[in-house]
Symmetry: C2
Subunit: 316 residues, 2 copies
């Protein structure tokens, strides 16, 4: 009989979260640590080791399918993690091999975190019914993963899914990546906050100002999502416009890859149905006609659990 | 021993070209007919039948691997051709099944023509060394095909590769497809000619005017390519700018699919090395940093033979 449990590790710049997951996608137990990122890779690997041992101890001796790890950065076919943003000293870390030496009796798989979240939605979430879809994480930045035939499309070197750096205006704003007009440069942290700050000058009654206690330097897309959920008009306008822009980039991917379904995760997707509707309307009006009847934009279902579930899904 | 010959049919709105092709990618014999498109599918199918019989008769009784057909329009997994542009009455034609009934002893495969050309470059042309690349046809319009692991990526319904309808300006010019700012709307027939016409007002010495005998309504991108080859400055400027725009769309695909190589075919790619260089420079400056060292933009090698060769490659 196939093992029905696996360990999933969601390793990020701020936290290491590890869970014991059933093959049905239930997290039976989980722990959480603040990432000790500034002490370098070996300190973080020790944290992962400790959290995995803890989770394994809750498996009551049941056979597990292995240990899956979702990591920021590009992850190559051998589980080497390359330059994860916001974690110093990680130019190239052979994470799969290192964890494999610590847990030699377990199967180890390491995957990029956005890809892991896409796998989670495919196996256990909003993508269960859809063999092919584009998954988008929209939070501080914009990332993604592509599911083809129920499997992750990693690309030749594991770097696929960078939807945030599709240019939607070739003459547009400069992005940190060096390109111009990247969709992330319009709907990610920096520019979305800048544009909102501009608009707040003439809309001093907006709830957004309350949420940041009047300090606009604290303005993050998450506060826009929160204000929108509370019915704030300006927040809804900003996110509707941003959703339309995201739709431009999604439509490009759908045209090129012949896809019809997109699943939106990350903090902003939780701002309300209106965001998902704005994205869907934009995508549908922009894709080629034969694709239009099948267009579906759905909200991700697994929220913060997607990381652990997708990591476990790598070995389940 | 594997058969070393196949029949390749390159069926388009203007001509039906059919060849006897060796497994090394040599066209040993070919014929060519003007497409009798206005008489409906059965007339065209009769043309294909006659041209295939003719090519088969040149095989001297050697065993052939089958008959491959490149067709405009979307081609589904069962070889049904859907709505090829510029050919009336072809809403849905089961081309593979129909040709299979006529030649029951031969294996039949039908594929979209841009995909067939991509396969040709992969098997026999500029893509031989590259297991993964984006193929672009740039002529009157902009189309493409994606090669992954030496095979064509068709997408779930066979519609993949529509790079021409990536928007490079979400507020840009309206495209026939309903989207705004599609790269095809900038570098395809209509807009490229319009912009050139504008510029010709202040550049009456351009060779372009000679080539169209002073009649600017005849201005096609092909004439720009021809003028550029003859050293015309305005033509080179227009195509350099257009190449930079094409690079924006190619960079988007490379970021999303983790690709590094693009091969450019179609009439305009033959305007000169400067076009390929303009595209490459644009792509390299716009893709994510980890991709940059590997970026290669190459000119297609097979020219007008790509259709027949790719079609034969479907069954070889």
């Amino acid at each position: 009989m196939k093992p029905r449990f696996a360990i999933g590790v969601d390793f990020g710049a701020t936290t290491v979260k590890t869970g014991l997951v059933s093959s049905a996608g239930k997290i039976l137990y989980q722990n959480k640590l603040p990432t000790n990122g500034h002490s370098g890779p070996s300190a973080v690997i020790k944290q992962i080791e400790a959290s995995v041992r803890d989770a394994l101890s809750r498996a009551d001796g049941k056979k597990t399918a292995g240990i899956g790890i979702g990591s920021p950065g590009v992850v190559d076919d051998h589980g080497v993690v390359k330059s994860p943003p916001n974690i110093p000293q990680w130019d190239e870390v052979p994470l799969a091999r290192t964890i494999g030496k610590i847990f030699p009796r377990h199967r180890i798989k390491v995957e990029n975190d956005a890809n892991a979240a896409a796998i989670a939605e495919s196996r256990f979430g909003a993508g269960k019914k859809y063999p092919n879809f584009l998954f988008v994480i929209w939070g501080t930045g914009v990332g993604g993963g592509i599911i083809l035939n129920n499997r992750i499309y990693r690309g030749p070197t594991g770097g696929a899914g960078e939807i945030g750096h599709i240019s939607i205006d070739y003459n547009g704003a400069e992005c940190n990546c060096g390109n111009r007009g990247c969709v992330e440069a319009y709907i990610g942290q920096r520019y979305l906050s800048q544009r909102t700050t501009e608009k707040l000058k003439s809309r001093p009654d907006s709830k957004i100002l309350e949420l940041v206690n009047g300090d606009q330097s604290k303005l993050e897309p998450m506060y826009l999502a929160q204000a929108a959920r509370q019915g704030d008009q300006l927040a809804r306008e900003m996110l509707t416009e941003a959703g339309e822009m995201l739709g431009v980039a999604i439509a490009a991917v759908m045209n090129v890859m012949d896809l019809r379904v997109s699943i939106i995760g990350g903090g902003i997707s939780a701002a309300g149905d209106f965001v998902i509707e704005a994205i869907e309307q934009s995508v549908r009006s922009r894709v080629l006609k034969p694709l239009r009847p099948g267009i579906k934009v759905l909200q991700a279902r697994l929220g913060n659990d997607a990381g652990i579930l997708g990591a476990a899904g790598l070995v389940l």
